[in-house]
């Protein structure tokens, strides 16, 4: 029985070692800690820009976000800061504050925001808005994250995979909410006048 237990112990240690080795190797892949998601929204870049920078609108499509507020500046201008409060249901509903600071802004095509969550992670989010011939916008979000805890760094391949899944859900929600709101909001007279091509 003791010999069997010894072999069980050796096997468990071997499996754990193998799992750690696989995670370490996976953590060295070229696009580690990075994720990219894309969607096409049937709205012009100017309107999509608002959905990405207005705190009230951001809250409507980013999952688990409890609160979003401007701290410095607004509208995605350079140096603007937003505070996002997330409710972590995986962590006894603890609240987590993420500060997003715009470090590069070219309205309405591109902006870059650095994200900081003390004790959790730091990251960079790039939002690229490319106009489509149909009048819509291709939104591409590219995120790169660095984790503060060593265990989180070890489990990075799993975390990035889950984060990618979450980002896909969020961007799908962005498309859905933005298009639905645009469809239900009556177009103002000024906007109608703007949309009429000049003769």
């Amino acid at each position: 029985m003791l010999t069997v237990l010894k072999w069980v112990g050796v096997s468990v240690a071997g499996l754990l070692g193998l799992a750690v080795a696989v995670l370490l190797i996976a953590g060295m892949r070229p696009k580690a800690r990075m994720l990219t998601v894309t969607t096409d929204v049937r709205l012009p870049p100017d309107q999509v820009w608002n959905w990405l920078t207005d705190p009230g609108k951001v809250k409507s499509w980013v999952g688990w976000m409890q609160e979003a507020r401007n701290r410095v500046g607004s509208d995605g201008q350079l140096g603007a800061e937003q505070v996002w409060v997330m409710q972590d249901r995986n962590n006894s509903n603890r609240k987590m504050e993420i500060v997003a600071k715009v470090t590069e802004s070219r309205r309405p095509r591109f902006f870059r925001a650095t994200l900081t969550a003390p004790g959790g992670f730091t990251g960079v989010n790039d939002y690229q808005l490319d106009p489509l011939p149909s009048g819509g916008t291709r939104v591409t979000m590219t995120s790169t994250y660095n984790f503060d805890q060593w265990f989180a760094r070890l489990l990075e391949p799993l975390i990035t995979r889950s984060a990618h899944k979450k980002a896909l859900e969020d961007i799908a929600r962005l498309k859905q909410v933005a298009e639905r709101t645009a469809a239900t909001t009556p177009v103002s007279v000024t906007e109608q006048a703007r949309s009429v091509p000049a003769k």
Partner: protein
């Protein structure tokens, strides 16, 4: 004559006695029954059934006194509940680290990993039982499977919202199937390990 005993009584007697005890208990019951039948006792069959039912309680106490249950619970806690809970905590940690947070509910991948782990733990337990108890392995496996039954729902309950309730059934089934497969495969290879045909 043992077939006169209801199946559930036979199964209970098999469950609460070691293989050697089981042989002697059934031998004694059979002997006594034959004596009563020969002497023309019309209630011999009823006596056999009553004796079978009454023996279960004391034999169960003997099991407890032999420390069988302590070992079982230790095995289930350390070899099944603890590793699966640890795995669940790893998932929780992974999801809590996701930037901008991710859903608490486990997806199909997490479920597949949990079921694989559950089956592996069941198979390892079966292998340990086979190596440690030989012909008594199947009986111990039955106890083990019965102990896992309430443990898997407990595992699902400690992570509310993370696992759907039917996951516990899946985890229990995978562990029990792997456990019995390992025990029975071992018995086929070992002629001495054949269980009693109680």
């Amino acid at each position: 004559m043992i077939h006169l005993l209801p199946l559930r009584v036979r199964w209970c007697l098999w469950l609460v006695s070691t293989p050697s005890d089981c042989e002697s208990i059934f031998g004694d019951l059979e002997e006594e029954y034959l004596e009563r039948s020969r002497s023309g006792d019309p209630a011999a069959g009823a006596w056999l059934r009553r004796q079978g039912q009454r023996s279960t309680g004391p034999l169960l106490r003997c099991c407890y006194e032999r420390g069988e249950f302590h070992l079982l619970f230790a095995l289930v806690a350390c070899g099944y509940l603890f590793p699966l809970r640890l795995l669940d905590l790893v998932w929780t940690f992974v999801l809590s680290q996701v930037p901008l947070k991710a859903a608490a509910a486990r997806g199909w991948t997490e479920l597949a990993v949990a079921v694989t782990c559950s089956a592996t733990l069941g198979a390892v337990s079966g292998w340990l039982l086979r190596a440690g108890y030989g012909r008594d392995a199947r009986r111990r496996a039955a106890w083990l499977a019965m102990t896992v039954l309430p443990v898997a729902p407990l595992l699902v309950r400690v992570s509310p919202g993370a696992w759907p309730p039917w996951t516990s059934v899946l985890l229990t089934l995978s562990a029990s199937a792997a456990l019995f497969a390992c025990v029975c495969v071992g018995e086929q290879n070992k002629p001495s390990g054949r269980p009693l045909s109680c």
